[in-house]
Symmetry: C2
């Protein structure tokens, strides 16, 4: 078993180190290789993703990523390299069209949520975000006076992500909320048509509702526990999954898996960013990183028991009172790691 | 003084009627004309906005709109007429590039908010949404297999909306949060550049921060009271203003003004939709409609005192215990209207 490690930027290396410790605990003898990625790769090679690193990822059984980006590489000049290009390039090159972001606030953390307890109680939703299409990958233009981004989808791209969502719903509460902006966007009208066609053909037993994206942004705040699976296109998924993350009280808690190519590796990463403001202080919450490792064990290596054991240890550490700074406590990365290790 | 009235669809006519009553109270002798618009116009004329209605709006001093749309006119066929085309066409034809959406939860309604009291206390923000550009108005294509929407902006379009935001901030708490997705979209990198150029040239005394749209979706939930003016492009503004609306506990409370052409009328409408599920039951909350009328009095007719009196009456009615169904109470449209009238 070989895992490619991409620590990236900011707090990335600090949360990767304990994750590797846990990986070695669960997969004795695992081989790993660390690669520069994102801003770190721009500094060394002038590009966020080199061919060597891409090849290294392609040969791995799974890729574990921490976080990329930071003010150092922020630029409005279209010709400058940007850390995110590495992430987008890797998703595309590995064919990772399905991004799974489970959102389940733990009872131990209800107090940390900005939402009233009765609103979040029972929330357990999964955002299925299309990850290799839409405005992220359409043609871009820029002149002195004009700029444009093209949002483009094929029916095949919508069809395959809809299937991922319906299959996931069958293992959960059997409900899919498909989010679009069909009253304005042509790609959304296509999206809605294809999702309904897939539903009618192969998943008629799953409950399906259409929700406009502006309405979805409201309902995630007002009634998050009514959602089961939310399926949506790339940009809406970016916005809504971060919003959904916040209702848990800390985006520092949420993992994600990017899947798609049955013959290639999946990519596993926390939903949070590189938090340059706290990088180097030892304050970063590593729990989303650990839960991303759990998703890697489950989806990437088919180690269901190990994945469950790691998730249970994280829950137990929180139940035991572990609170990192972002959860209103004072524990840093090292204490959080020790607390989880203690429950293994 | 002449006001064009567009009741539209669903609960639209039910909330328009009491608003006209209030308009006549504040502007004795006002002349009004009601026009079919949205789905109602599609049913009568096959199009959501006829040339006659557009001309009627252009000749008015201001346009008051209730709401458009409903399942009856939902369609995924690109050739069918849709109610929203009327709204988009009207915004474009009247040159209404600046949509102002104030979000200020009333202390009397803190209990109705899904957010914990300490998170919303003190929230008083203004979303300035660009309304006549972006993916709403870019070229759309559709074939059997492909669909696309073009997001396009000119520097002039960004420049003028940025100025509206900075001017508004100077009358408020002097802070602008500019929201974009500059790590992915070319239009966002242009947006960021132009906003900073306008800032440096003419508004250096206003505090300016850049926030990525996914991060903004989180921060609206976690720390809404930190925002003063949020300025963003059309689609992001649609999503974020609805999300912000929900933190007040009821989108039924929020008004909006669409401005832009100094020589033409502004358009004033509630942020909520046509609520077809409760249309005809007399249950609709008319308060956002009344507050939209207040914005019309202020921005459309320069009747500041009258606008303030109406807003004060709405506040007083709520302080006096008025709660419509969406606020957890039992008052319908008629009772809410009576409660506001009683405080004039
Ligand atoms: C870093 C950025 C390009 C990325 C995205 O928008 O996809 C991030 O926000 C995410 O959600 O993984
Ligand atoms: C009805 C729809 C086209 C419209 C929009 O997206 O602009 C509405 O959601 C709004 O925010 O006014």
């Amino acid at each position: 078993t070989h895992i490619a490690l991409l620590p990236g930027d900011g707090i990335g290396p600090e949360i990767m180190a304990p994750a590797v410790q846990l990986l070695e605990h669960f997969v004795p003898g695992v081989s790993t290789e660390e690669h520069l990625f994102g801003g770190a790769s721009i500094d060394a090679h002038g590009t966020a993703l080199t061919d060597e690193v891409l090849a290294g990822c392609q040969q791995a059984d799974a890729v574990l990523l921490a976080a990329v980006g930071g003010p150092k590489w922020d630029t409005t000049n279209p010709d400058d390299p940007r850390p995110e290009q590495g992430l987008l390039g890797l998703r595309k090159a590995l064919g990772l069209f399905a991004n799974l972001r489970p959102v389940r606030p733990l009872p131990a953390l209800y107090d940390a949520s900005p939402l009233k307890r009765e609103r979040i109680e029972g929330t357990d939703l999964l955002v299925v975000r299309e990850l290799t299409g839409g405005i992220y990958f359409g043609e871009k233009t820029r002149t002195d006076t004009d700029a444009s981004d093209l949002c483009h989808y094929t029916t095949a791209e919508v069809d395959r992500i809809a299937r991922v969502a319906f299959e996931a719903a069958k293992l959960r509460r059997n409900k899919v909320s498909s989010v679009d902006k069909a009253n304005v966007m042509e790609t959304s009208r296509q999206w809605r048509q294809v999702v309904h066609a897939v539903h009618a053909a192969d998943f008629a037993g799953v409950e399906l509702e259409d929700v406009l994206v502006d309405n979805a942004a409201m309902q995630l705040v007002s009634r998050p526990s009514d959602f089961d699976v939310i399926v949506t296109e790339n940009l809406f998924g970016d916005i809504l999954s971060d919003e959904a993350a916040m209702i848990t009280g800390s985006i520092g808690m949420l993992p994600s898996a990017s899947l798609g190519n049955p013959d290639g590796p999946g990519l596993f990463e926390p939903v949070h960013g590189s938090a340059p403001d706290i990088a180097g202080t030892g304050a970063a919450n590593p729990l989303a990183m650990f839960l991303s490792l759990a998703m890697l064990l489950r989806h990437g290596l088919s180690l269901e028991a190990e994945a469950g054991a790691l998730e249970t240890a994280v829950d137990a550490a929180l139940d035991g009172g572990l609170r990192t700074k972002d959860l209103g406590g004072s524990a840093g990365t090292a204490e959080a790691t020790a607390a989880v290790l203690a429950h293994l």
